[in-house]
């Protein structure tokens, strides 16, 4: 029996549903010694902004129970250097290349970035990072664009107007209800939703009564956030029509399957890349094995295949 691992996200054809999450995979070249990058479903590069950013002060990371806190602050060389020195390696891999973009102060920067990238053929899709907790937008109604449905819809729509590429909108879990935000991204014209960015968190060194990272608050990732992420994928799946890329604490095949069953069409491996740079390759092999063992003809049939709960949630 054969099994089909391929999935579609917008106009992208992924040979399998395993991608790598922005900010955890550098520009792919950092991982070339560890795994055959061409086997990945897609690569998402570290978020790029129009201008270079030096990022936040050190220390920027610390270990937390089953996870880590980070406050990198979107350090990146800016679009020009990115196009010249970072993109070429990933462009040659022959797999869908998704470029994560973010604005620093004015959401209009998303439009400028999208316009510039529209002309770059090797870029298959844009991921709109409207959910980084480590960058502050002055003057906005909410700290993050993705905490405001209207702002979310406006940004997605403005990018949609100038871009023919697949648009993925990455959302923040730091909201009371994720569903209206996802619906707003869909209404704005997003082709897919990426769930979730990091959860804001703190970690205090009791002896010194100081935050363990230089910033008081950082973004929590790793297995600790997985149940939150799976729940959000499940909630959103039933309320939108576009595909969801699920992520948050995936470290092995079974944690990847959790997201697919909850409703994700594809998944991204994030923090686990730091610990085990070859892990995404093993998850691809693991999914194939799982599908064969369970006589699943297409991995697409797993999406949203959770057995209905005995007790239906109240409307």
């Amino acid at each position: 029996m054969k099994t089909d691992l391929s999935v579609r996200i917008g106009s992208l054809h992924l040979k399998n549903p395993v991608m790598v999450a922005s900010g955890t995979f550098g520009y792919a070249e950092e991982f070339k010694d560890f795994l055959d990058l061409r086997q990945l479903g897609a690569v998402v590069t570290k978020t790029v902004t129009l201008k270079p950013r030096s990022g936040n002060p050190s220390p920027r990371t610390c270990e937390t129970p089953s996870g880590m806190l980070n406050s990198i602050g979107l350090e990146n060389p800016g679009l020009e250097v990115f196009l010249k020195t970072k993109l070429p390696f990933a462009a040659k891999l022959g797999i869908p290349l998704i470029v994560s973009i973010a604005s620093e102060s004015d959401p209009q920067e998303f439009v400028e970035l999208a316009c510039r990238l529209e002309r770059v053929k090797s870029v298959s899709a844009l991921e709109l990072n409207i959910s980084c907790p480590n960058v502050k937008h002055a003057g906005a109604a909410t700290a993050l664009i993705s905490q405001d449905p209207a702002a979310t819809k406006a940004v997605v729509r403005s990018v949609r107007k100038v871009s023919t590429k697949t648009i993925i909108t990455k959302l923040s879990p730091n909201v009371t209800d994720i569903v209206p935000i996802a619906q707003a991204a869909q209404a704005g014209g997003s082709d897919a939703i990426a769930l979730i960015n990091t959860l804001t968190g703190m970690c205090i060194d009791v002896r010194r009564r100081r935050s363990r990272i230089a910033m008081p608050v950082g973004g929590l990732s790793g297995p600790a956030v997985r149940p939150v992420a799976v729940r959000m994928v499940w909630e959103v799946y039933r309320k939108i029509k576009i595909p969801i890329i699920g992520m948050g604490g995936i470290i092995d095949t079974f944690s990847a399957l959790e997201f697919l069953i909850a409703g994700a069409a594809a998944i991204s491996v994030g923090t686990a890349n730091f610990v085990d740079p070859a892990v995404s390759g093993r998850i691809i092999a693991g999914l194939k094995e799982y599908a064969l063992e369970n006589k699943i003809a297409s991995v697409r049939s797993l999406t949203g295949s959770i057995v209905k709960p005995c007790v239906q949630p109240k409307k």
């Binding site: 995979f25 550098g26 270990e63 880590m68 990198i72």
Partner: protein, 265 residues
């Protein structure tokens, strides 16, 4: 050689004192150079999650030695492992000390506390090379108990001078005082400094070296999640912009670092 994950057997594991452990791993790394490090996984699974960066203390024919301090949950788990157990490591990683800088010169190795660990590998390398003069090892710690590897530096052929904060061994004071005296003598003519230790110490080393016009290389420590240049957790501000301690370092020319923008940890 490609950098990959290796499962390395623990050949020996010795307690040096209540907080310092010496682990010998069956990991032949003929291309490892002094100053490089490995990322070690403590325990299996997600808690603790991240690997720990540990410098290579010595290289033998059959493997590498790691001299590390037990500071938290991860290193405590490592310390509990017995010979025969396997640990997952990634490495060797990063750039080592530039050895060519020592040619025809007197290498001055300055180690503070645990910073002595990678300098032993360097000392053994330098004393094995021709055309390099006898290295001087300046070692400092809070107390006599914290002075590490004194014997190892002597065995490697170094002249060893020590300093402790409380005067319990060698000179009372900081190791930088030893360097200051050395650089005030005729020895400075042909010296090159290699140093590893806490950041304030490295900062003093840089200032002394800069005043004396002597080349200095420092090995930096930083919090890092990946060790392979992807997470940007270990960024350090340099004259050429941000650099990654794991990939662009951990060894840097001292004058490259913007010392004012210090990491307070």
């Amino acid at each position: 050689m490609k950098t990959r994950e290796h499962k390395a057997e623990i050949l020996a594991h010795k307690r040096i004192d209540e907080r310092v452990q010496l682990m010998t791993l069956a990991f032949p790394a003929p291309c490892a150079v002094p100053g490089q490090f490995v990322m070690v996984k403590a325990g299996v699974g997600g808690d603790p999650l991240l690997r720990r960066p540990i410098s290579i203390h010595r290289r033998t024919k059959t493997g590498i030695e790691l001299l590390y301090e037990v500071v938290g949950q991860g290193t405590a788990l490592l310390a509990a492992l017995r010979p025969g157990a396997e640990v997952s490591i990634i490495g060797p990683l990063g750039n080592g000390f530039p050895l060519v800088a020592a040619k025809g010169r007197t290498p001055v190795l300055v180690g503070g506390g645990m910073g002595a660990a990678p300098l032993v590998f360097l000392a053994e390398h330098l004393t094995a090379a021709a055309s390099i003069k006898q290295p001087v090892a300046l070692l400092g710690a809070h107390t006599k108990k914290g002075l590490l590897c004194v014997k190892a530096f002597r065995t490697a052929g170094c002249r060893v001078i020590t300093a402790t904060d409380d005067g319990s061994c060698g000179r009372r004071g900081f190791v930088s005082c030893l360097l200051k005296e050395l650089l005030e003598s005729t020895a400075r003519e042909n010296a090159v400094i290699y140093s590893c230790g806490p950041r304030p110490m490295l900062n003093s080393i840089y200032e002394l070296a800069d005043t004396a016009g002597v080349a200095a290389y420092v090995s930096l420590e930083a919090h890092m999640a990946c060790g392979i240049g992807a997470c940007l957790g270990c960024t350090v501000a340099t004259t050429a912009g941000n650099k990654r301690v794991c990939k662009d370092g951990p060894v840097f020319a001292a004058q490259e670092i913007l010392w004012g923008q210090a990491d307070e940890n």
